[in-house]
Subunit: 233 residues, 2 copies
């Protein structure tokens, strides 16, 4: 194993709290504090997979996530009775996804892992999103990869295989680190190694999915610091 | 100006000394210390533009620089009477381009510039090359861009324009920093801002080109530390 590539939303950063925090500010500004920002964050996120599926299926050319997020935001707000918003406000709010905070173990874990492995995100986020997030949160990636340079959305096999290609490595020299069993299944099918780190509050206190590994993943760790210890980094 | 993107070979790193150093080790190992490693480095580099031109012209599909370097190495060695080399030795020697050292002002200058600007390479090098170089030399890029994610070789306009697109910026929000007037001319034509930093020994003591700015570039600085001062970073 020479490189670790990371799922980002949920695995590296707590997207739900971060997006809800920025939605709360927006709702307050427009006088709609009757709405629950966490419910809106969940509703925004529910449109994520269907929007990417349009691209995966070929019904729509590959389109970067910032654009999909922006469209989904407008639809989600309309579903909650918010229309006619200032487009510049929505542009700014859309960048909530660039300003997410890592889980508490992430920076220490990555700094240890980086001594031994090449580290990069393998996220469906676009390059500007991932790079702005990393700059703000000081996430020490060695390169910013993901869906955009490979023009494919996980779990398409091309997303994993072309990423290994960009690194000039064989798939089995690359390990995907993710909090999602489905992502790991697709990575394993493509020939990558797999590491599972549970994030039991990604979806809030009542989370029912991805609480435990569902296959014998190559590594299972409770957080990134334990992952570094298990990988002797 | 929100982002600075950098030419790498010559502007950020001293490719000639670095490649000659690794060639010297190889020539010593095969008992050919009669050959001048600097002359071989120059000969290797002379094949760089013609190889990319095959891709720019469309005669060959876009091919990453590691592959072009590897082909050029074999041809260059044959020109000097070295044939039948161990292919694994040549694979290793080809990675000399991943192991180049920055000029002495680079790291301090970039650490200052990074506080104010988004920093990325805009090099004809491929992602693995640039990322391995940055990891080894601790170059603090915010993202690793370049020819590979945009599938175009400078000075094609697409190389500059698509890079601004990946950053989600207008061309005039991006400034190319380069030691080469030709690169800056193409960047300006594409609408980017331009900064010239002379590297008067890139080609050795007798360098005759790119010793001074040939147009009124937006910024001219003697090195990256002065560049940071001029940009108030």
């Amino acid at each position: 194993m020479k490189a670790l590539v990371f799922d980002v939303f949920g695995t590296v950063v707590d997207w739900r709290s971060g997006v809800a925090r920025e939605l709360a500010g927006y709702l307050s500004a427009i006088g709609r504090t009757d709405l629950d920002p966490f419910a809106l964050a969940d509703a925004w996120r529910r449109r994520y997979q269907p929007a990417m599926e349009e691209c995966r299926s070929g019904r729509r050319p590959w389109t970067r996530l910032d654009v999909l997020h922006r469209e989904n935001l407008e639809t989600m707000l309309a579903d909650h009775g918010i229309t006619g918003a200032d487009p510049q406000d929505l542009d700014a709010l859309n960048l909530a996804w660039h300003r997410l905070d890592p889980w508490p173990d992430v920076l220490l874990g990555l700094h240890r892992l980086r001594r031994r492995f090449f580290l990069a995100p393998l996220s469906n986020g676009n390059i500007a999103l991932l790079a702005n997030m990393a700059k703000r949160a000081r996430i020490p990636w060695d390169a910013v990869l993901g869906a955009e340079p490979v023009q494919a959305y996980k779990p398409q096999p091309e997303a994993y295989l072309r990423t290994a290609g960009l690194l000039a490595m064989r798939p089995d020299e690359v390990c995907l680190v993710a909090a999602h069993n489905g992502d790991l299944r697709a990575a394993r099918k493509a020939g990558l190694k797999t590491a599972f780190v549970a994030r039991p509050t990604e979806h809030g206190e009542d989370q029912a999915i991805d609480l435990a590994p569902e296959e014998d993943w190559d590594v299972v760790a409770k957080d990134f610091v334990e992952l570094a210890a298990k990988l002797e980094a």
